[in-house]
Every structure is written in C-alpha cells, then in structure tokens.
Point group: C2
C-alpha cells in the first residue's frame, strides 16, 4: 500500500536530496500537499530556473546569469590580484568580509587523489591562462586548511613558479573572538608558526 503515484514520485525525488530520508521526505510532501498552490508552483519553477538561467562565468567560473559575471566586469576591483577559492560559496564568504574588493578564480574542487580528482579536473589551466592574459601580479590562495586544500595550494605554487608573480596563502590561526583554551593544537601551532612582529 502506497500513496497515490504523484505523491510517491515526489517523495522518491525528495529523498535524493542530501540529509533527507524517507520520513522527512514524506513530511515535506504532506506539507507541500497542504501548502498554498502558488507557493508550490513557484518552488517548482525556481528549481527549473536554476538549471535554465544559471551558468558559469567563462572567466572566473562563478555562478552567474550573464557572462562575464558582474564581479569580472566590475572596474573598481583590484585588477592585478586574483583570489583563488574552491567553490562559489567560499567566494561569497570572502566577498562579504571584503565587499567589492577582489576578483576571484573558482577552481570548482580541490586535488583529491583518493576521490580521483587530479589537477586537470579543476580550473587550473584556466588560472594559468588568466594570469598571463590579465597580467596578474599576485594570487591569494584561499583553499581550505585541510589536506586537500593545502595540497592544492602547494601544487598551484609549484606550477606558477616561473610566472614571476607573488603567491600568497590566507592566514590560519585562532579565530577572532575565540579562546586559546578551546583552540585545537594544530591551530595553536599554526598561530605560533605564523606569528608577527609587534
């Protein structure tokens, strides 16, 4: 005994979303059955819209409606610095702390041999081309401070050795407002290794 086919179909589709099992999917399906018709049709349309209207910027690989994206065409940003990030969401975080300042290059992944992701699977060739074409003077590598992110950062610094540009890595240490007592040993170590003169 199952629900009518359209409800079953919706539940099956919802369970494919991350973190949503059959129980949650069923709860969502019944919420939607009782929800305002206009809202459900709008949700339906907004799902189709992200596939129909969103693409990647051919310059920085940001998600965008128009190509090149608004960030790449913003004349007020630093022209000769590129901030290299793993994902569009990481770019958003940097953008919100330094609004309208940097240009970006989004790799769409990190080097991860265990998952079979090599240098050619992320946007590294495009990065090299941009550095030449846009006369970049510095790249700031803002990948995550984990094995994959660090590996990718080192790989980038290796392949760009002959380019005569400054290559920097964002700093890792105790977060602002954090407490030394509750900070893990590796962060403390990074914080000591990267100490600055006062």
């Amino acid at each position: 005994m199952y629900y009518p086919e359209p409800i079953e179909h919706l539940i099956t589709n919802l369970t494919k979303l991350p973190g949503i099992g059959r129980k949650t999917a069923t709860r969502l399906a019944f919420f939607l059955l009782n929800a305002n018709r206009d809202y459900v049709l709008e949700l339906s349309k907004s799902l189709a819209d992200i596939k129909d209207r969103i693409r990647l910027c051919s310059t920085c690989f940001n998600l965008t409606e128009k190509d090149p994206c608004e960030i790449c065409t913003d004349e007020k940003r630093e022209k000769d610095i590129l901030c290299v990030v793993e994902e569009p969401s990481h770019m958003m975080v940097i953008e919100s702390s330094y609004p309208n300042h940097y240009r970006f290059h989004i790799l769409h992944g990190v080097i991860n041999p265990l998952e079979g992701i090599g240098p050619d699977d992320i946007r590294l060739n495009e990065l090299k081309e941009r550095i030449k074409k846009e006369q970049i003077r510095e790249i700031i590598i803002a990948t995550n401070p984990n094995i994959e992110g660090n590996t990718t950062a080192h790989y980038i610094s290796e392949i760009l050795k002959g380019y005569n540009i400054r290559i920097t890595r964002i700093a890792f240490g105790i977060p602002i407002g954090g407490d030394i007592v509750y900070t893990d040993p590796q962060t403390i170590k990074s914080s000591l290794d990267n100490r600055k003169d006062l």
Copy 2:
C-alpha cells in the same frame, strides 16, 4: 552581496519548508546546482504534479488521483465499518497493519479550540451523511491519544448518539515489544484501566 537572483529565489522558497533554515536551504540549492539536470527538472515537475493531479476523494477525503478513490471502490473491504482518522498519513499506518480491510473517513484535522478549529472545520457533517447513506454499523475512532484527539473522539460519540451504531475507540497501552520499566505513567494507567480477562 548575494547569489544571482534565481539562486536567491530558490533559497528563499526552500526556507519556507518546515525545518529548513537558510543554511540548509543554501546547501540544498548548491546540491541542486551541481545535480543532474534531468533530476532537478523531474523534481520540479513532481512538485507541480501534486498540485495538478492530487485531489481529495469526495467520499472519504483520502488523497487520490481518481474520485472516488481506490479504497472507496474496493468491493472486498468491510462495507458497514468506517475507521475515522485525523490525516491521510494516519490512514496509511492503519492500512499497512490491516491491508485491504477497512474503509476510512479522513477528518483532516481535530477539534482544537486554542487554534480556532471547531467541529465545522473538520469533515464531521460528511461523516454523519455517510453513516446514513452507506448504512454504517460501526465506526472505529482512531484519532491520536492526546487532548485534541480525545476531545474529537468524545465529540463524535456525542453527536452520533441517536444513530444506533456501535462507536469504538482504538486501544491505548504498552506498545508491543515495549518495556513496562520505560513506559510513561499515563500509558501504564491506560493499560491497567483497559485490562482484559484472560
């Protein structure tokens, strides 16, 4: 600084779902951005489908594609007993433990004065009409064992007093496989009050 408008729009729509805040909605939106196009369009269509193809059975108020629903038109079920439940999902639970046995009547709610839901807001008039029209001999009230469910059960038994039918309530007690030690006092009380001769 926000994501492109179609992504923002999807995130806003997803946050309207129960239990989904902006962080989860953003995670789902990015999952969908990276997901297979066919899957996302199918999810989109299945959302529209539940609004376009699902309606309530005009007899029992079950969710159905055709009216009357498959349960109401199933000749093999008990003809003169109706099982009264709060919601279609409650019907499903009973159906799965007693397949193809009972007919149902779905109230779509319970009496809840605090939320302004009175007897006229749930399908009680339709229940009275069915009892006469379908020559019902017994109704089994399977509303939840909480204040609203019990109030509704008592209200139904009051309004059906002149109908010369058997009115029963499902039993509440220690669940099968449960442990007396871990059972709450009210359930134990119900289990004692409703004891049966061996």
